[in-house]
Symmetry: C2
């Protein structure tokens, strides 16, 4: 549709701009409350001495996530989407204008919690990571194939609750590979910090 | 927008049709994997001797949820939305045409797992229930005000995991009342069957 085409064009422009300034941009998508912000908090703590990091956070409303990440001493821009269920390349383009790209190596963009709509709206990033949680149950991947098709890394989070949920993490992992054999799957507990090194390595950081 | 207006018109038509046949229709919305289907399974088990029940289930793909509910001996219609992140009144209208409404008292409509988009698309139901899970964290309500504004009942599910998550259920409850003082909040564990009587009573069933 025209809306998707227009977004793709802007996403390409964002991509060119980021490339020009040597900024590596990574999308973080995933279901509501799956642990996207918690993951970013851990990545920021581990990587801020190695890279100059900026974080964009997309939410309908509030600055809760931006505040959480900002506490770790990196620049964060909160993008409130109002009623829009996903970030789009235009919102990201505007946020990029607020940043001194000469001073950035790594950009994390947390999308709105939603396992469907963000799949169709590229933002211009180099890599995509999708975060799901074992607490959502065993059918999460097979029910939402499109978002897993277009991703580089899949994080299966909250594994500390896998036995309480009686969810077989390996089955979720196999479901991902069935849809996208090239995806890298990392199991994490952001609460315990488990698996974060695996995420960093999967992202090539 | 035209799309929303067209949907509202169809929703009104659905409402008229359901009223004509004396069918009570209830929307079940909520975040991905929050427990909507589990709740419907329990409601069906408790109420199928009192009401003639039909269930519609909306998902992008698969018949997993329809199969789960169907096992309890009620008629279920699976509506696959393809890429659409919410059910709409047109899809419900078509599903209603497959049902002998003379033989139905109660209709549950499970929407796609999404805390944003379904808020704007009424389906013609009499009541709305939103299901969230404590495993999504403490900010679920304040971050998605619109869906809570338009609902009659809010179910806070998976309370069996509240202490593992260190989430204060009472705070989530207060957040709901702050947005919608008329909403009825029921705390549940669909795993343990806890709170289901409260949901039935809140729905007036
Ligand atoms: N038990 C457990 N809880 C976790 C884990 N990771 C995150 N949480 C908790 O899960 C809740 C949601 O985490 P967030 O990081 O806010 O998730 P999110 O995906 O950013 O949420 P939204 O942006 O609102 O969609 C919070 O209460 C976290 O403390 C984990 O590995 N285990
Ligand atoms: N621990 C615990 N798990 C629950 C509870 N309720 C549901 N579950 C589990 O949570 C997972 C998701 O439940 P579903 O009923 O499929 O949730 P849903 O909202 O219908 O999911 P979608 O339709 O896919 O969005 C399943 O593994 C359920 O067994 C609960 O109260 N406690
Ligand atoms: Mg977040
Ligand atoms: Mg379901």
């Amino acid at each position: 549709t025209d809306l998707l085409k227009a977004n793709e064009k802007l996403a390409e422009e964002n991509k060119e701009l980021l490339k020009k300034y040597g900024v590596k941009a990574i999308d973080i998508l995933g279901s509501i409350g799956s642990g996207k912000t918690s993951l970013i908090e851990l990545l920021v703590q581990k990587l801020k001495n190695k890279y100059k990091i900026v974080v964009f956070n997309g939410d309908l409303t509030t600055t809760i996530d931006a505040n959480r990440v900002g506490r770790h001493g990196v620049e964060v821009i909160q993008i409130n989407t109002g009623k829009e269920c996903h970030l789009d390349a235009n919102l990201v383009k505007k946020a990029l204008q607020k940043v001194d790209l000469n001073n950035v190596d790594l950009l994390f963009i947390e999308n709105v919690g939603n396992l469907i709509c963000p799949a169709d709206f590229p933002l211009g990033s180099e890599k995509r990571i999708v975060v799901i949680s074992v607490t959502e149950g065993p059918y999460m991947v097979v029910k939402h194939p499109f978002i897993f098709m277009g991703t580089d890394v899949v994080v299966i989070n909250k594994i500390d609750l896998a036995s309480a949920m009686e969810v077989a993490v390996e089955k979720l992992e196999r479901d991902v590979y069935a849809i996208n054999p090239n995806a890298k799957v990392v199991k994490t507990s952001c609460r315990d910090g488990e698996g974060i090194a695996g995420v960093i390595s999967a992202l090539g950081l």
